[in-house]
């Protein structure tokens, strides 16, 4: 905890960078996992599952 505080949260500059970087990774993680859940739940029903038959 101390290390994180001293390297990231102590100075406003690094704190801002840490916020932006973590926002990026958080967003990506949420997007990827949401898509994965959606595709798993709906396997076989989506266009990307059936388009192989028509190309």
């Amino acid at each position: 905890m101390k290390v994180i505080y001293n390297t990231l949260f102590k100075r406003t500059s690094t704190y801002a960078v840490a916020i932006m970087a973590s926002a990026f990774f958080f967003e990506r993680a949420i997007d990827v996992s949401a898509n994965m859940i959606f595709d798993t739940v709906n396997k076989g029903k989506l266009w990307k599952d059936i388009k192989g038959k028509y190309e």
């Binding site: 949420i30 949401a34 898509n35 859940i37 739940v41 709906n42 029903k45 266009w47 059936i50 038959k53």
Partner: protein, 307 residues
């Protein structure tokens, strides 16, 4: 927020309070200090909210037996779940049904061929579908209007040029535009399915005029659309047996998609929203515990002044 607190509580929550009062959280409750007007206001808001909720619930639960139509039973649609997408193979078959059966009388003027791309058809297939229609376009360089094959950006063709022509061709009944029909009818896709499969001989005592048919799901019972879906009335390109219920199910799914093209995105977004709000709830809970930890665990000792 602070202003609202101030209004209901005076300065009680905003000022630091003698610590003895804080030792038990229940002492933080400030309802005892509310003015009686505020109590009445809050009470009234609560009563109105509860009353409106109860009214809505009662209306939704009511049997609605006073009408003359049968209410469509809920079907086990594969897109019914909270996260369930539409069945795109079914949308594609439903488009075939619409094109070969429904479009003879019903327009669908808000759906363009480009909308099919990536939903039920590839781009080439959608272009091929569009090229089958003829579109009046113009004016060209010489000011004349001309006919051309359809493009991806063209909307589905309407069978009649205007409502009057449609009424004249259908005994005065207007075949509604089907673009948003699932959203526009109570019961949605269940209603469409039941209507298409629910044709019966009229029971004794029901008088039908010329060109009318009996359908218990249609308000009033007398519908001007004849039964159109029979077993094997069309052939599916993917080889699915075209039974009447299969045709009705597929076209209802297709119409569900035309009414709610954002259906799949919406449900995908729900997963995202649950993820983010769950995360934020966890953080809020942690911060609340964090901030209260010192408040709840501190001990205040009274040390009398020595004389």
């Amino acid at each position: 927020m602070a202003a609202t607190l101030r209004r209901f509580n005076g300065l009680r929550l905003l000022k630091s309070t003698p610590a003895l009062n804080l030792q038990q959280a229940k002492n933080l409750s400030s309802t005892s200090s509310w003015a009686s007007n505020n109590k009445k206001l809050i009470g009234a808001i609560g009563a109105v909210t509860g009353g409106v909720g109860a009214l809505l619930f009662a209306l939704e639960q009511s049997v609605e037996a006073s009408g003359s139509e049968v209410h469509a039973p809920a079907q086990p649609w594969s897109h019914r779940g909270l996260f369930s997408s539409l069945d795109h193979q079914s949308i594609r078959r439903g488009y075939e049904v619409y094109k070969q059966v429904c479009s003879a009388c019903h327009s669908m003027q808000y759906i363009a061929y480009r909308n099919l791309v990536g939903v039920s058809h590839t781009e080439e297939q959608a272009k091929a579908e569009a090229e089958q229609i003829t579109v009046r376009d113009g004016p060209d360089d010489t000011g004349n209007y001309f006919d051309r094959p359809g493009k991806l950006s063209d909307y589905f063709p309407s069978p009649y040029p205007n409502e009057e022509a449609a009424r004249a061709a259908n005994n005065g009944a207007y075949p509604p535009d089907l673009s948003y029909i699932v959203s526009a009818r109570k019961g949605g896709e269940d209603y469409i399915f039941s209507l298409l499969t629910g044709y019966h001989d009229a029971p004794a005592g029901v008088v039908l005029r010329e060109g009318q048919y009996f359908n218990p799901y249609f308000p009033g019972g007398a519908i001007s659309m004849a039964q159109v879906l029979y077993n094997e009335v069309i052939e599916y390109e993917d080889g699915t047996p075209p039974t009447q219920s299969q045709l009705a199910k597929d076209v209802a799914t297709f119409l569900k998609w035309t009414s709610e093209p954002e259906h799949d995105d919406r449900k995908q977004l729900l997963i995202r929203v649950i993820g983010i709000l769950g995360f934020l709830t966890a953080i809020s809970y942690y911060i609340k515990r964090h901030k209260w930890s010192s408040l709840k665990s501190r001990k205040i000792v009274f040390v009398p002044k020595e004389k």
